[in-house]
């Protein structure tokens, strides 16, 4: 059997030195194929004496099994190697930028409006919109602006040439429309475009406001203060934000106030943005004037309410640092893409 041992040894050597699956298969055919060396050995068993036949058969079969196992092991190794090589060859430059569209973006005013709206919707306010071409009744008369009063002149109104109509100077007419449509109690916010005949670094002839209105029984200045504090703290994400109310005048509210916040840039220490004053003006507000409630068929003895109006571009200045209001409407794409 010396011959067989050599044969097996030789087989192992050839298996281990095979480097491809094809070569390995040749080895398999050579030893285990139909005319393979070991197959032939088995065939030659018949020539042996009967007594030796069983032992030799066992011996050859063991050898066959061992060679087979060695072939399988080697096959696995070679397959793995081949797969590795294939996968390696499939390497991508994963640093190449992805394919397709790059997203555009929303206008900063839209972003701000969405934020204001979301905060007020959480407080149960419904959103209302109104026309931009308005009439004197909704823009002035119902809001207690007297004819020829300087407050009316101060609005710098755009008028239409061929119609007795105007471009709304504030979002306040939506208050009137909402109260006439739904009556009291009511809580609404009304975002939108507004127009005044004015143009410089801090004024554009078109800008955006958000109007807020709450009318119900027993509503006081304290509730106005409460809601505005909450809103402004959330808007600026500062729960220590300080507010101050300054008496002011808007014909449709009484008492009226302007609201300042502690300067968010210098915390009141004084800086360029707050003009060293330590406070930033953010909005105007007050209790709805009884004449306005009456114009909207609401009994001012039973119901009281508050209203506010805030300038969206002003918030853009405070929140995003857009100091030149005109940038908002020049629509330079490079500028707008900062606000995605």
């Amino acid at each position: 059997m010396q011959h067989l041992d050599d044969l097996i040894r030789e087989a192992h050597r050839r298996i281990d030195t095979s480097t491809t699956l094809v070569a390995l298969n040749d080895v398999r055919v050579h030893y285990l194929g139909r005319k393979g060396v070991l197959t032939e050995q088995l065939k030659s068993l018949g020539a042996l004496p009967a007594a030796e036949r069983a032992g030799a058969g066992q011996y050859i079969n063991d050898a066959k099994r061992l060679v087979n196992e060695a072939l399988d092991r080697r096959k696995q190794v070679l397959e793995q190697t081949e797969l590795d090589a294939k996968l390696t060859a499939q390497a991508l430059d994963i640093t190449l930028p992805g394919r397709g569209h790059e997203p555009g973006g929303l206008h900063p005013v839209t972003r701000l409006l969405a934020r204001v709206q979301a905060l007020f919707e959480r407080m149960g306010f419904r959103m209302e919109t109104g026309p931009e071409i308005e009439d004197e009744f909704h823009n002035f008369d119902a809001l207690n602006f007297k004819l020829d009063h300087p407050a009316r002149a101060a609005m710098d109104t755009f008028y239409l040439r061929d119609w007795p109509l105007l471009l709304r100077t504030h979002t306040s007419p939506v208050q009137i429309r909402a109260m006439l449509a739904y009556g009291a109690p009511i809580r609404v916010i009304a975002p939108g475009r507004t127009f005044r005949h004015d143009s410089d670094v801090t004024h554009t002839p078109m800008f955006h406001q958000v109007e807020g209105l709450l009318v119900d029984e027993g509503v006081s200045m304290a509730h106005l203060r409460g809601t505005l504090s909450l809103f402004l703290q959330h808007f600026f994400e500062r729960d220590d934000l300080q507010l101050r109310f300054r008496p002011s005048y808007f014909p449709f509210v009484e008492p009226g106030a302007e609201v300042d916040i502690r300067c968010i840039f210098c915390d009141g220490g004084g800086c360029r943005i707050c003009k060293q004053g330590g406070w930033l003006e953010v909005l105007g507000c007050g209790l709805v004037h009884p004449n306005v409630l009456r114009a909207c068929k609401i009994n001012p003895e039973r119901y009281t309410g508050w209203a506010f109006g805030l300038g969206v571009e002003r918030l853009g200045m405070l929140r995003y640092g857009i100091s030149d209001m005109r940038m908002n409407f020049e629509n330079d794409i490079r500028f707008l893409q900062q606000f995605r």
């Binding site: 930028p97 569209h101 929303l106 755009f158 471009l167 109690p185 304290a222 008496p247």
Partner: protein
């Protein structure tokens, strides 16, 4: 309005500095926007007297002056001012001193001549922007004193913005009254005791328009010293208030207005014929005004006239014909009360914004005329001298304003805080409206200078603002009992916006008013015009958002942006059935490469189909895509054969197409594709309704047909779908071929069908039958030949 602190302190002198006063006023609703020094630092600036002036030997425009400035020794100063001459007094800055701009003045040689300091102009001292040479000081100014001292010393100027309802605060007196309430102090009001007449001369006064002029006081003063000049202290007070001195008489009337809030006017008496008439102007009447213009008047303008002609616009501006001027010795002083409704808007309409008009529009004290008249007369006596006549007073019977009730309970209910009763009484009394106790609160009669106290809420504000708004607590109003409707069918507009953003669009916001010319080019129509546009190219309301988008494209192309993808939502303004329709739309524009430059996609220009894909994506959101109809139609802005009108179940939804090449050429912009759709139908979606998904395997079959170029994709798809029946789950065009092998007037279209039955597995035979049916229909109906 500028108010001098020193002047204010003559009326009330609280123990607080100017900044503290400003803060208190601001928090009471009288907004002080700045507090600044009235004088710049005038370091080593003295009053000097020019003793002699000799020409500089080596310079034509320079003089050598000998100046006495209090040192006991004459200073030699080289001066280039044209108005220098011996005997005048002017500020001198001594060597070592600094001008307000920081430059130091040293002893120096000017063209070889020693100069020990500098004679100064008001401009150099940053007092005014006068460039009229040296600041000549009155002859009685004491030489050797500091200029600061002779100008009345250091002072602060408060810049105050008064809201339109508070005309009563447009004076030193008015601001002092506010401080009186805030600091709980009495005021010291200047002496206004009547000055006895020394002559008997009077002018007859006739008020023909009592509704516009409720009170009129007039007085003749004769024999003024026509050589009198306005004293330095008064000039300086005017300067600190932002008023330029003109003539002693005018300066005094201005002074009284600044101090007491009562505008006055002085006429040269010799130019008044007969007497004074206060009346409405006659249509077509003209008057030459002090500032030079000569407006045509109408019967809405209140005027002061004599028996022959109009002398001036009541409460706004006097006429030049009767103006006080150099040499005037006899004057007529007018001090009247014109009603805000008679004045309001007139200055604006006539383009004349004056201090007087500003005050009358907002309301002047009904009881302040005599006080102002006496105050002015007293100052005139001191400054110009003269012989006053008796005061003529024409007055409408005063209607006692009806009291306003302030209920204790209402006060607390509105402010959300209880204010003690004696504080209420104190506050209202200090504001000049002492309340009378009533059963449930107080009755308050507004004083003659308050025109903003009409209803209870006005008093609530008065009490609240003086008591302090910032004492009001923060409370949350309880949650709403009702909940706003949230119709699920209705899409949130944000989803449309986000969809476009994801497809590479940048949102823009353009003006609602646009260039009429560009608008006409893009819409073929005229928009609704503004009466008073801010610019000629912002004069019409937009008929389409395309106007703004095209403008934005131009703006960005001029800034080298080749790829522009923008959209906007907003109202457009259309005339419909003689009414203005304000319609919400969404519009977009794309130009340049479809994709940002990248390695994995071909660099190709965005086209019609790209934009249509975006529009289809918008319609898909509301489930309306299947109902969309796209029909060719002409539009003035669009390429005649690349333009489509979109329809949704019989309503026209909008337009989509390539910008007309001619328009692009004229506007010098690249080719662009645009759309505009009505928002309302886009937002009306449907409530999803679940259907079972077929569990049986689908079969994909393709069909290539050759048809005439005139056969549209919509025709092919519709015919294929109709003939295929319910088993056609999906149907798409996946290739279009023109070229070799195909007749030049025909095209090959490849259709891909997904066939699937919902109740059983579809056999190959059944699928073949469906495909045969489809092919037959396309052949018969659309003249298609089937390619193998």
């Amino acid at each position: 309005m500028k108010i001098s602190e020193n002047w204010l302190r003559e009326f009330i002198n609280p123990a607080a500095d100017a900044h503290a006063l400003a803060e208190r006023l601001t928090l009471a609703g009288i907004e002080v926007t700045s507090v600044t020094d009235a004088l710049p630092p005038l370091d080593r600036v003295m009053v000097g007297e020019v003793k002699s002036v000799l020409p500089h030997p080596d310079a034509d425009k320079l003089n050598i002056c000998q100046v006495e400035a209090g040192s006991g020794r004459l200073l030699q100063i080289v001066c280039g001012a044209p108005n220098v001459h011996a005997g005048i007094k002017a500020p001198v800055i001594l060597p070592g001193g600094r001008l307000p701009d920081g430059s130091e003045i040293r002893k120096a040689k000017l063209r070889g001549m020693e100069s020990e300091g500098m004679l100064c102009s008001a401009h150099e001292l940053a007092l005014t922007d006068d460039h009229l040479g040296l600041m000549v000081l009155p002859a009685d100014t004491p030489v050797g004193k500091t200029l600061t001292a002779v100008l009345g010393g250091a002072d602060k100027i408060m810049e105050i913005e008064v809201t339109p309802n508070r005309g009563d605060c447009l004076s030193v007196l008015g601001i002092a009254r506010e401080l009186g309430a805030l600091y709980d102090q009495d005021l010291k009001i200047p002496d206004a005791k009547p000055i006895a007449a020394v002559i008997k001369d009077m002018l007859p006064v006739k008020v023909e328009a009592p509704e516009g002029c409720r009170a009129f006081a007039g007085r003749i003063i004769r024999d003024l010293n026509s050589r009198a000049t306005t004293p330095l202290w008064l000039c300086e007070r005017l300067r600190r208030s932002g008023v330029r001195p003109i003539h002693p008489v005018v300066d005094i009337t201005q002074y009284v207005m600044l101090e007491l809030g009562q505008p006055m006017h002085a006429y040269d008496c010799t130019h008044i014929e007969g007497g004074i008439v206060v009346r409405w102007a006659r249509t077509g009447e003209r008057i030459k005004l002090l500032e030079g213009s000569e407006p045509e008047l109408d019967k809405n303008v209140l005027v002061i006239a004599d028996h022959r002609r109009v002398l001036g616009l009541a409460g706004i501006m006097g006429g030049s014909g009767s103006a006080v001027q150099d040499g005037t010795v006899d004057i007529y002083l007018e001090c009247a009360w014109f009603s805000p409704t008679a004045i309001s808007g007139r200055s604006r309409r006539l383009g004349l914004q004056t201090e007087a008009g500003y005050r009358f529009e907002r309301g002047v004290d009904l009881q302040g005329q005599l006080r102002a008249m006496e105050r002015a007369t007293r100052l005139l006596m001191e400054i110009t001298g003269g012989k006053p006549g008796p005061v003529t007073v024409m007055e409408e019977p005063r209607r006692q304003p009806s009291p306003v009730r302030l209920r204790r309970a209402r006060l607390e209910k509105l402010l959300g805080i209880a204010v003690p009763g004696n504080d209420v009484v104190r506050i209202l009394s200090r504001l000049g409206m002492p309340p009378q106790a009533a059963a449930d609160g107080w009755d308050v009669v507004p004083p003659g200078y308050r025109f903003d106290i009409e209803v209870e809420e006005d008093l609530v504000e008065e009490v609240g603002r003086i008591h302090g708004y910032n004492l009001i607590p923060s409370l949350q109003y309880p949650g709403s009992a009702s909940m706003a409707l949230l119709p699920e069918k209705r899409l949130d507009m944000r989803r449309l916006q986000e969809t476009l953003v994801q497809r590479g669009y940048q949102e823009v916001i353009t003006y609602s008013f646009v260039d009429p010319e560009l608008q006409r080019r893009l819409t073929g129509q005229q928009g609704i015009a503004l009466a008073n546009p801010i610019a000629a190219d912002l004069a019409e309301m937009r008929l389409s958002l395309w106007v703004g988008l095209v403008q934005t494209l131009r703006y960005n192309r001029n800034r080298q942006q080749a790829r522009v993808r923008i959209f906007e939502t907003g109202l457009r303004f259309i005339l419909e059935h003689n009414d203005i329709k304000q319609e919400n739309v969404i519009a977009g524009l794309i130009t340049g490469p479809q994709y940002p430059l990248q390695w994995g996609l071909p660099d190709r220009p965005a086209d019609f189909a790209d934009l249509k894909g975006d529009v289809e994506a918008l319609l898909a959101l509301s489930g309306n895509l299947e109902r969309l109809e796209v029909l060719p139609a002409p539009h003035p802005a669009l390429h005649p054969s690349q333009s489509a009108q979109l329809w949704l179940e019989g309503t026209d939804l909008g337009w989509l197409g390539v910008l007309h090449p001619q328009i692009a050429k004229i506007l010098d912009i690249p080719s662009a594709v645009v759309f505009e759709l009505k928002l309302e139908p886009l937002l009306m979606g449907r409530l999803p309704h679940s259907r079972e998904v077929s569990r049986f395997p689908p079969i994909r079959r393709d069909l290539a047909v050759v048809v005439d170029e005139t056969v549209t994709a919509a025709q092919l798809l519709q015919a294929a779908r109709a003939s295929g029946g319910a088993v056609v789950q999906d149907l798409r065009i996946f290739d279009i071929y023109r070229g070799p092998g195909i007749d030049s007037r025909r095209k090959s279209v490849a259709l891909g069908l997904i066939l699937q039955d919902s109740s059983r597995t579809l056999t190959n035979e059944a699928a073949d039958a469906v495909m045969a049916q489809v092919a037959e229909r396309l052949r018969c109906e659309l003249g298609a030949t089937i390619r193998d």
